[in-house]
């Protein structure tokens, strides 16, 4: 054991590595969080020290994710902190609206530059004719999330919904809080700022009351919050749940999805004397495999996204902070409106409050309502990615929402019977699943090819050989969807059972799933007999 090498490697680990940004599911985060938590235990009850310490760690976490863009994050904090004070001091006075407008534009400009420059340039060159060469712009991780957070903050201050934060450290704490910094949930200032100075009481209570304790959220007032052992156990369970979803289910399924749709980072080569094609293509796979890829990606994106959110919520809870729920079994939805109340809840509520309602909502007539819905969803789609296929995806969801609203109006809010509910669920699920193909495929064309093959080249005869060569994938898909459809009550019971386990039991469970993730890390998904290059 070379301790010198350990310290040298640890020192290197502190540096930013573009190829290995820090993730919640990584070993380096486990190491850093353990060290962080060891000190946090002694500081948490000293408010100023806690703020300073967590802020410092959050900035370090962001540095590990995006390098020196942490300076950009700092500038964002300072700018919006100052703007919030100005908006509050000038509240009701002339020009405040323009200050808000300018603030929103200034907040959006970096987002537009980093995320959408190539989109605008490629669109412009496509229209004007010519070759487009992408600019090499590195996107700061999480910029979409904290930009929306800052916009929601200054909008709330402008409306008078919240008071402006008068301490730059507090505001920095809110914006850079590391569990939710890079992948959400998008936290509202009015929900989080009051938690910063709150006294946190960690209580060690008997195990027998675990179920009851978990069923009741932590008792909280403006001044303090009581977090007991059961709630901490719940936090650990959220982390475990998120880890299983992200590092086991999503990462394994991604191997198969990449076969069909290609690795987004791969390069297609077909040289004269080599004849090597590296990227996958839906054309090379049967309709059945394309259909399985669609289901697989449907599960993958949910597990990936919600897994990360779960880990964020769990980590925050371990520190005594509450983050809002972000996913609520979205694939159980029986209509698209319900889907958007369950999927990425913080984003959909943000879009509702700051775009849909701001435009006018349902107060300006039925057709304008539909128009506002469409605009909101187009923005939502575009927020997800800088490509026309995301805009299309958002537009289709907007259309789905409009059709649902129209359906409710026509049927007079008909509740339906069991059969109709099943049909409604099937339609909603497949509507969402088919649209995920556009999300994942390299381009609009590839997505339409994939969907086309599902209908033109489908044969149930592929089921048996598919099962024979990809059993593990099928099992994981089955388990993933099965867990998703477990009743909320049963999930709560699993949660309380885990929380009531002794410490060694919890550690063993974690070790089991971590080892499982390590095993699957090197596993390959069997291509259909062979993988073609």
């Amino acid at each position: 054991m070379d301790l010198g090498a350990f310290f040298s490697n640890f020192w290197e680990l502190l540096a930013y590595d573009k190829d290995n940004p820090i993730l919640f599911s990584s070993g380096q985060f486990l190491l850093f969080f353990t060290l962080f938590y060891a000190v946090y235990i002694f500081l948490y009850d000293k408010v100023r020290a806690r703020i300073f310490y967590v802020l410092a760690f959050s900035l370090f976490f962001y540095y590990k994710s995006s390098g020196w863009y942490v300076v950009f994050l700092g500038l964002t904090v300072v700018f919006n902190y100052g703007l919030g004070i100005i908006l509050e001091d000038k509240h009701g006075k002339k020009g405040t609206g323009w200050a808000l407008f300018a603030g929103v534009i200034v907040n959006l400009l970096p987002l537009f530059y980093f995320k959408y420059t190539n989109f605008f340039a490629s669109t412009f060159t496509a229209i004007s004719g010519g070759d487009f060469i992408a600019f090499d712009i590195f996107l700061p991780i999480g910029i979409s999330f904290f930009t929306f957070q800052t916009i929601s903050y200054i909008a709330d201050v402008y409306k008078g919904d919240i008071k402006a934060c008068r301490d730059v450290l507090d505001f920095g704490f809110y914006l850079s809080f590391f569990p939710q910094l890079v992948a959400g949930p998008i936290v509202r200032a009015k929900d989080f700022l009051p938690q910063i100075h709150r006294k946190i009481n960690f209580q060690y209570t008997a195990r027998e009351n675990t179920e009851e304790l978990i069923a009741n959220p932590p008792a909280e007032t403006e001044e303090e919050v009581d977090i007991n052992r059961a709630h901490l156990g719940e936090g650990l369970f959220m982390i475990l749940k998120g880890f299983v979803k992200k590092a086991i289910i999503a990462d394994y399924i991604a191997l198969y999805v990449s076969l069909i749709y290609g690795d987004p980072t791969c390069i297609y080569e077909n040289t004269y004397s080599v004849g090597t094609e590296i990227c996958g293509s839906p054309m090379g796979y049967s309709g059945f495999e394309n259909l399985m890829a669609m289901y697989a990606y449907t599960l993958q994106i949910y597990c990936d996204f919600s897994g990360y959110s779960d880990m964020a919520i769990g980590i925050a809870l371990l520190m005594g902070f509450k983050l809002p729920e972000n996913f609520r079994s979205p694939y159980k939805a029986r209509n698209i409106t319900d889907f958007w109340r369950r999927w990425h809840i913080s984003l959909s509520f943000w879009l509702r409050d700051y775009i849909y309602i701001a435009l006018g909502g349902n107060r300006k007539g039925i057709f304008k309502r539909y128009w506002f819905l469409m605009v909101t969803m187009l923005v939502g789609g575009w927020w997800h990615g800088a490509s026309w296929k995301f805009v299309f995806w958002g537009g289709m969801h907007g259309l789905g929402l409009i059709l649902h609203k129209f359906w409710l109006k026509v049927t007079n809010n008909w509740k339906g019977n069991v059969f109709s509910k099943v049909v409604a669920w099937l339609i909603t699920f497949h509507f969402v699943a088919f649209l995920w193909v556009f999300f994942r495929a390299e381009s609009f064309e590839v997505a339409t090819i994939s969907i086309g093959r599902m209908f033109t080249d489908f044969d149930w005869a592929y089921l048996a050989p598919f099962w024979s060569v990809r059993q593990l994938l099928m099992v994981i898909l089955f388990i993933g969807f099965g867990i998703h459809f477990i009743k909320q009550y049963d999930k709560q019971r699993m949660n309380s059972y885990f929380a009531s386990m002794p410490a060694w039991g919890k550690a063993l469970v974690f070790l089991f799933f971590i080892q499982l993730a390590i095993q699957l890390q090197s596993a390959d998904v069997q291509p259909f007999i062979y993988f073609q290059f």
Partner: protein, 416 residues
């Protein structure tokens, strides 16, 4: 001195009491649930670290893979210096031989050589099938450069997570051969069976795979798995059945691995490919039957001239000699000694009136497909068979006899 120490100790005690004062029973009682969480984290970290360091992985019928926490205690694993050294030995020697040659390329040879260098196909190029398990993916990236530089076509077919059993039962190799009609097969398999119990049961599958290749008469080489731990016998089984001169043993090579701890990184795979190519062209049963020069090392004009000189007599792609390069260790030493002597003679001739003349000439003639080496008619010695070398492994510095080549040409090559 004593009073100074006493004061110092008193100060330390005061400071310690001050720091620890808040840490009374209530302090820890308040933090009990947090300490429990910390304990869980520490136990997880400790367990993973302990298993990283454990000498033997836990094995059922599969290996319980280890996390890579032990890498934190290692200096950065360099790519195998053994491979790099061996490759540089090889290129140094070739450059040394080239320096001593006379004559220059003919125009026809130059054109031919340019055609090779630019990868344009002609009748002497091979259609190489690279297939097997996921280890061939890393090799593919390197071999495609080799293929392009040497004027071959490379087709890669990878069956991830496959085993000898799967290949044998599905007759996949036979179907690939039938479909693509390659003229050379490079096969990688075995990584997914390193820890199988009852490994002897796999022998029949190995035999079957080899049989599928051998019945076609196509040159077939098997690249052994790059072990990350000692195996239960798969390497021995393969070499027993395929023979040493068609099996490249990779198990002793040291690789920088990807995060899964098994697959070599792209860079490590490139060096692995370089070593395989050295073995293929210098030691394997098919040395001379395939042009597989390292593009990184053969771009200088001297190399081109040498190749051009020897390409005149190449007949075609089916089994005829392409190029055999190299001499025995003895010849190598002699050639370099002669070169040094010649240079010394020139220097002496320039400085003095009566410079010694070296009247050494060496002709090396080797028959095609022989296991005997060339003869060297120098003052010193005769050469002996060199081509029977160990089947691989440029992985160990002790095996210097892996660097053995034979020069083939109907004309003699004079080394002055």
């Amino acid at each position: 001195m004593y009073s100074y120490c006493e004061e110092y100790l008193t100060l330390c005690a005061i400071l310690t009491r001050g720091l620890l004062a808040p840490m009374n029973k209530d302090f820890f009682q308040q933090r009990k649930p947090l300490l429990e969480i910390l304990l869980i984290l520490v136990v997880i970290m400790g367990s993973l670290t302990w298993y990283s360091f454990s000498g033997y992985p836990v094995v059922f019928d599969f290996e319980l893979r280890k996390p890579s926490f032990d890498k934190m205690f290692e200096r950065e694993v360099a790519d195998s210096t053994l491979l790099a050294k061996n490759n540089s030995d090889s290129s140094q020697y070739i450059n040394g031989v080239l320096d001593t040659m006379q004559g220059g390329p003919t125009k026809a040879n130059k054109e031919r050589l340019d055609a090779f260098a630019t990868g344009k196909r002609d009748s002497s190029s091979h259609y190489i099938l690279l297939t097997g398990d996921s280890m061939s993916e890393g090799l593919m990236f390197a071999f495609k450069k080799y293929a392009k530089f040497n004027g071959h076509k490379l087709k890669t077919r990878i069956w991830y997570s496959s085993s000898t059993k799967a290949w044998s039962k599905s007759d996949t190799l036979a179907s690939f051969i039938k479909r693509y009609r390659p003229t050379f097969i490079i096969f990688t398999l075995g990584s997914n069976e390193l820890f199988k119990r009852n490994i002897s049961e796999r022998e029949k599958y190995i035999k079957d795979i080899i049989h599928e290749a051998d019945t076609t008469g196509i040159p077939f080489v098997w690249i052994g798995p790059p072990n990350w731990k000692d195996d239960t016998g798969i390497n021995d089984l393969i070499v027993k059945n395929v023979s040493k001169d068609r099996f490249f043993e990779s198990k002793n090579l040291k690789f920088k691995r990807k995060s899964d701890g098994a697959h070599p990184t792209k860079k490590a795979s490139a060096i692995w490919a370089d070593t395989i190519s050295s073995w293929l062209t210098q030691t394997s049963r098919y040395r001379g039957q395939i042009l597989f020069r390292d593009p990184k090392k053969h771009e200088d004009i001297a190399a081109k001239e040498y190749i051009a000189q020897n390409d005149e007599n190449v007949a075609g792609r089916n089994g005829t000699e392409w190029l055999k390069v190299g001499v025995t260790e003895e010849e190598k030493r002699l050639a370099l000694a002669e070169k040094a002597a010649k240079e010394k003679a020139k220097r002496d001739a320039a400085a003095a009136q009566n410079s010694p003349k070296t009247d050494t000439s060496a002709t090396t003639t080797v028959n095609n497909n022989t296991q005997d080496s060339s003869k060297n008619n120098t003052n010193s010695t005769t050469t002996k068979d060199s081509s029977k070398t160990s089947s691989n492994s440029s992985s160990t510095t002790t095996k210097k006899d892996t660097f053995t080549n034979t020069i083939t040409n109907q004309d003699s090559i004079k080394i002055d």
